[in-house]
Every structure is written in C-alpha cells, then in structure tokens.
Symmetry: C2
Subunit: 338 residues, 2 copies
C-alpha cells in the first residue's frame, strides 16, 4: 500500500495501534503535542521534530541561523502547547559534504540563540554525515505540574475556542519567498523585494513560540480544557481537538485574526485569505479551549482572540461565514507524506 | 573549514563550548552516553541516535525488521551504559517514495519487539517524507537513582577495566555481509554463505543491549566508577573514559575476549583480529571500571572479563601485547563524519 493513501496520521495510527504502556511513568504516548512521563509530582514532556532539506526547508532563501532558530522553536512550541515549560533539547544533525564547519556553526548559533531566549539547555545529540542534504532532528524535554498539563482531549460543549496572534502569515511569507525565488532564476545580483511585507517573511523564517500566552493564562488562573499549537493549520488542529475530545465546533470567519500583510499578499496571488488562515500552517500560535465562565477573563488577555465555541459532537466541525452559512471544516493542512 | 578535519567529537566540542546550563535540573549535558536531568530523587537519562540509509545501514542485506530492532537497541544500550533503565522512546522517520506501508510496518515490528523485550514504551515521534532514502531518529528516555548514575568521568588509578561479552564480532559480521554482497553482484538467485558464521552475522544485524550486566552489577552491589557502551570500538571508548577521568590505562591483549568465529573471519580476510576487537565498533558491550577491591566479585560475574587497569595519567593509554611490549591506543574507531 502506498503511504500517501494513509497520510501521516493514518500511518501513525496504523503503526502504533495496540501499544499498551508497560511503565507506570508513561502517562500519555503517541497522539498529542508531547508525550507525558510522570515522575512523582512533575510531568516530563517529550516532543520531537525531524526536518529534512528539500522537504521542510529550502536553503536557497532560508539563512542557516534562522533555520537553527526555527528548528528549536517548533519544539518549544509543542511543549507550551501542553501548558509546560521547555527545559532541555538534544540536536541531531546529518550533514552532507557541501557544508563546512562555519555553516554548521551558523546553524548552531540560531539554535543557541533560541535556547538563550527561551531558557532551554542544549544537552546532547548525534552528529553524522549524510549522503544528501541536511537532516535536523531535535527532541525537547519540558516539565509541567501534573494537574496543569493540557492535552487535546478535554474540550467540552459550550467551551470557548481561542487563538493567539494571527493566522496565515507564515504561509503567505512562504508564498512570497517562493515567488521571489522563481523571479531570481537566471538573474545575476537579484534582490528580492520584501518591501511592506517584512512581517510575513519574518513569520515564515523566524517564528516564535507563545511562551507569553502560557504565562498570561497562568497569571489569569486559567487552565485550558484543551490546547495545541497551530503547525498544520487551524482547520486541521481544530479537527484534532474535536475528534480527541469527542465534540464538534463552530468558528466564525469574521473572528479569525489576520494581519493586513497576510491579506495583501493573498490578494496579490489571488488566494482566499481565509483559506490561508485555515490551512496555511507553520503559524505556531496556540489554539485552546476554555470553559464559558472564563469569557470575561480570556477576552481581555493581550494577543488572544475568541473565535468560536465547542458544540455537541453531532453538530460536526464548521466555520460560520460572514453571511451566516456554515462550511464544514476540512483538514487540508500540510501533509508531510504527500 | 572542512568538517572531516575536526571529526565528530571535534565538531561537537566546537559547537557546544561555552554552553552554560540555565536550568537547575540539567545535571549533565553533551559528552556522555546520555544527558542527565534531575527530577527530585530520580535522574532522567536522555539519549538520541540518527541513522541514515547509505551511511549507517545498507538495505541490500539488512532486513527492515532487524534494522528497527537495532535502531532501538543502540539507544537502550546508551541508557544501560549510564547504569539506568530505558523507559520510553520516540521514533521519527523520514520515508522516501520507494517504501510502502508494509515496509514501514516491518521496520516498526522490529522496534516494537525490542520495546517489548526490554520493557520500553513507544510514546511519540514524527513521520515525514524524505527525498532520498530512509531516515531514522530515535530518542530514548531512561531513569536511574541519582547516586547510581555512572558517567565516563569517575575512573581512578588502580581501578580494574572490565568488558562484557566479546569484541569485534559485529565488525567481522559486517565484513562478511559486505563480501557476500559483492559476490552477489550480477548473479541471479544468489544465496549468501553464512555457514559456521551465524554468530557474527547476528552480532551485526541483531545486537542486544546488556541489560543483564547492569542487573548483575546491581545484584553484586557494584556501582562502576565509569561506564560506556562500546559503539565505536574498545580503543576509542577507553580513550574517552581516560580523557574524561584524567587517567591512563593498560589493557592486556591476551585478556581481550574474542569469539572463535570472529577470529576465523579475521583470518579469512587477512586482518589482525585484535585490530578488529579494538577498533571494530557496534559491539554494544559494556566497558566499565570498578575499584580494585571488587576484584573477587567482578571476576565471577558471568559474561564479564577484567582486561586491564587504570593508571596515573602520565602513563598514557596502551595495550600490553602477548610479548610484553606496549602499543599506544589510538582512536581509530568509526568516524561518522569521514
């Protein structure tokens, strides 16, 4: 059977079905942003990401330092998405012959900067040659109080659905970078034109993990009922939460936060900006649900927007458009196995 | 600067120098078989291995199930080498188009078998497409009592040097597999000839991690002063322990344990069998040092052999040959960045 028939999640489901945990410390395995390992009164969170040149990044326009930074950030983001704090990472690299020591130092300078800013220690890894391209595998270890860990499973009917920041910008940044790359072909001394679109380029090349939102929630005494980071697109992540929590949802088109640069870029390439926001991916914003009685508190949190609510499962997952009609959500996010 | 000029350990030293730990829980970072993360009265051990097709394995003669098994085992081995118990792994895969779902299930069946036998839970990972070949990145989480963790740094003058099992067999198994692969070129229905050499083939294709030795040591009330697993070759690992502990060593050629199949294969390919045992790698046996007063206890442990002793640093690292002369040890083990 072709792997593309199953897709990433189908393949993982198939490979990991019927895997009972034998260790008492294994609280939560495959199927969330992090695995959860209990150790007395602390939960250890573990997440890992594998990034391959030509699949996940294009060194034509991605500076190595940015790549290092982003490779670390995407892992930190998974730990925050469980309401935890990232503490340590391991970094494994496969390096092909075209890379020099200076290249790898550049990559590492980005990883180290991310570690410095987020207070994370680089504690190990594995370094080897690769036959083709650069391979980056990062694992992040975090910690959380057991009663504060937030999975994808706890969303309940009438809960409010919230997102941080704005959506679709990283995807539009990618479109812009790809457009300028295409324009540069065969041109000497080509200068890409990012004027007025610096924000979406930065969102693609140097995303941040929402440590601040996790702090805000803690400060406000809010433990979300479910949380994920938005790496594959809002639509796909919402459907994960609804499936794992056994609920449905309604999100409102007019409530979805979009930056004006995202909108302008979408207009330029003749793409529906809502489609970009729903399915773009790589935003690394937090998507979470809170009980309805937190409405007053959550609506005042800086950088957080209420975009809809959880429903009974039989209502399914849908977006309510500006004219009041309902469009079923589809998981059209990035499929790494396509 | 070319990366091969620095080698794996030189590159890692350069990339990770001046990296202070900011988290109290980070007890030990880069530079041992595992990182050590303290959590109250338990130490969490973390190790990771990146395996790339064409660099670390050749699917011409390595069955996918064996590859899965070995990929897990090499990580478990690193945890045992710190005197810990492996508890969880994450498995990340990069999969190129030529692999089907059934192929990946075969690989996973080996990983799952290893987990079952060693009592480890598979708790997560990342799955993506790759442009070329198979990429396997496994991270293992283990645990140990803080006062029982064994690093590479504690060997002291007069300590006894011990190894488990026998050495050089995995390397000779690789030579045999490569020889049969070469012989098969252009031949239809070729049947490789492994008669009388099953042991060395198994040592290469399906190594085990020495959980039993860690149990034996615990049972005998012995906490080694230093320990490593032998993945790059005895010589290289001994020099690591001596460098990190600030000591020298003498090992005795006649004491180095070698299986007769290893000796026969070395003879056939006209290679010095001691060279294979010193530099072959992939044995996944344990190399450890114990205080001299444990001599009576350690010499009776099944599968353990005393091969030499630690000296003052000024004596350097050397092997004493059968005729009594001394040959300085050299780290000629496998260099993954060559």
């Amino acid at each position: 059977m072709e792997i593309s028939q199953l897709g990433e999640f189908g393949l993982i489901d198939r490979l990991t079905q019927g895997l009972p945990a034998v260790n008492d410390s294994t609280i939560r395995g495959v199927g969330d942003d992090c695995a959860v390992i209990r150790n007395r009164d602390t939960d250890i969170l573990v997440t890992t990401d594998l990034l391959l040149e030509g699949v996940h990044f294009d060194l034509t326009y991605v500076p190595l330092k940015h790549l290092g930074y982003k490779s670390a950030i995407v892992n930190f983001s998974d730990v925050y998405a469980m309401n935890g704090t990232p503490r340590q990472i391991t970094v494994s690299l496969g390096i092909s012959k075209r890379f020099t020591v200076e290249h790898i130092e550049e990559l590492y300078s980005g990883i180290r900067l991310a570690c410095e800013i987020y207070g994370v220690d680089l504690v190990g890894g594995d370094t080897t040659s690769s036959r083709q391209g650069l391979v980056i595998s990062i694992t992040c270890i975090g910690e959380a109080e057991p009663d504060k860990v937030v999975t994808r499973c706890g969303a309940k009917d009438t809960d409010l659905i919230c997102v941080s920041g704005d959506l679709g910008a990283a995807y539009m940044g990618l479109q812009l970078l790809e457009r300028e790359k295409a324009a540069s072909v065969g041109q000497k001394d080509f200068q890409p034109d990012f004027a007025g679109k610096e924000y979406i380029v930065e969102r693609q090349l140097k995303p941040e993990a929402r440590k601040d939102i996790v702090s805000e929630l803690a400060g406000a005494g809010i433990v979300p009922t479910a949380m994920m980071d938005i790496s594959d697109g809002l639509s796909s992540e919402l459907m994960h939460i609804c499936k794992d929590s056994g609920v449905g949802c309604r999100v409102f088109e007019e409530r979805i936060p979009i930056d004006y640069q995202t909108a302008i870029m979408a207009e330029e390439i003749d793409m529906n900006v809502i489609t970009a926001a729903l399915n773009g991916g790589e935003d690394y914003e937090l998507l979470f649900t809170v009980p309805l009685h937190f409405h007053e508190k959550v609506k005042d949190l800086p950088g957080v927007k209420v975009i809809g609510h959880i429903t009974k499962p039989e209502l399914g997952c849908a977006m309510v458009t500006r004219d009041g009609s309902e469009i079923p959500l589809q998981a059209q996010g990035w499929n790494p196995l396509k």
